[in-house]
Amino acid sequence: MTTTSRLITPPQEDEIYPYRRAWFSIAVESGILFVVTVAMFVTFRLLGVRFTPFIEQIVNLSVVLLPLVLWGVFSLRRELSVPLPRARLLMVLVVTGLAANAVGLPIADNIFQVDRWLPLADAPVRVVGYIITLGSLQEIIKYLVVRYATFPELLRIRADSVAYSAASAIGYAVIVNLRFALDTNTDPGTLALESFATFAFHLVASVIVAYGLSELRFSAPSPLLLPVMVVAAAVIHGAAIPIHAGLTNAGFSLAGSFTNPVFGLIMAVGLLVSIGSTMAFLFQRAEIAAQEARAESERAP
């Protein structure tokens, strides 16, 4: 008679990841915002549902503040439940919002005066103009807030720069959208599309700058890497504004004049997914390279 040993391998205790997963939060927030945007578009633009002006104003404010609510639920609240929370997340969001309102928008309106000359300029000049003015201005303001609030001591892991930059992007985007909602008489469907596009452009550009910040913190790159990342963010954000407007706005044809809001939404989603996944890949690759280098140095005598 043979007996077989029935040993069971004791379960390994999972190592608890002590930080909030920033990329997951961004994906969830963007996904929910996209679904709500599509729902608003179908309800108000395709089905033509209309409310009284007062109720529409409330719906508009809800649409604009939705990214903030989602960020509060999926980023800030979850941050409080992890062992090592990020300390200045809310501060970065609030300061970026205040800086956008007190510095960014006044410079755009009173110094660059973009509304007076850029929308009427030729297409190449319009793209370059938006890159130089609004793209650069917005990215530099967000960079300065994150840089002075967190760098370098609060960036403990690479994902910290993503979390802080996403907070600054949402802070800036909410202020821009809030102003758009208060200054224009727009239906909630159109506002939802515009709000999503602004959110996507700010988030994508901020994640690019976050990569530069994290590399500068944890690696030894060329001093040019961070400025190049800020320029890249400004170029993408600045170029996205007129291209999105060109795709969305009505064109003249023999059949009439119709707006194409779906094209703008597709562009915003495409930019968010393509650049977001590219940057996530670059972050992951940098992290693996750093781990391999650490292991190599530990193996070395």
Binding site: I111, F112, Q113, R116, W117, L120, A121, V125, V128, G129, I132, T133, S136, L137, I140, Y143, R147, F151, P152, E153, G212, L216, R217, A220, P221, P223, L224, L225, L226, P227, V230, V231, A234
Partner: protein, 200 residues
Amino acid sequence: MTVIEVGREERGQLTLRQRWSHYLVLVYALTMLIVGVNLRDSLLYATVPYEDVRAGIRAFYPQGWLLDNQGDYVFRVRDMRRTDFKTTIQVQILPVSADSTTRNLLDNLLLTRAQIFGQYRQFPRAIFQLPDETPATSVNYTFVASQDDPFLESFPTVVAGQDVVILQREQAVIITFQASADEYDTLYPVFQTFLADLEF
């Protein structure tokens, strides 16, 4: 005695590389601010040359404005992109007798315009100096303008204007600037740029 410091947050020291990266971003920010303002000025205040040899006038008017020299003036340019009152710069030359004064001329303008423009109101006249230090007289006024096409069903616009009058060689040069009163101060630099480049 040992001094114990409490509550001071330990700040990470920046490396030289990190410092230089930050400085380069600040340089980029400053450069973009200057380039952006320069680009704005080059497009917003871009001009096109105009020359009338017969009248002896050379000017640079804003790019994209509609030129018209078919009226009782040397030339008139208007910003047709405006949805309210079309911002206008006009140069007119009137022959005057040797004993005519600026006051006669402005009184005549007042009487003429009061009949043409609705709610025409003139402000006190003032001594004006052109950018090339030529002495002149200016008068500011307001009137109410409405769209020529009644089917547009638009509200009338309050217009603010300025006439600059120069008497020389038995002729009076009247340079007029008219813009929507809401935008007058914003658009006045366009007129100042025009005056700075005007030769007659």
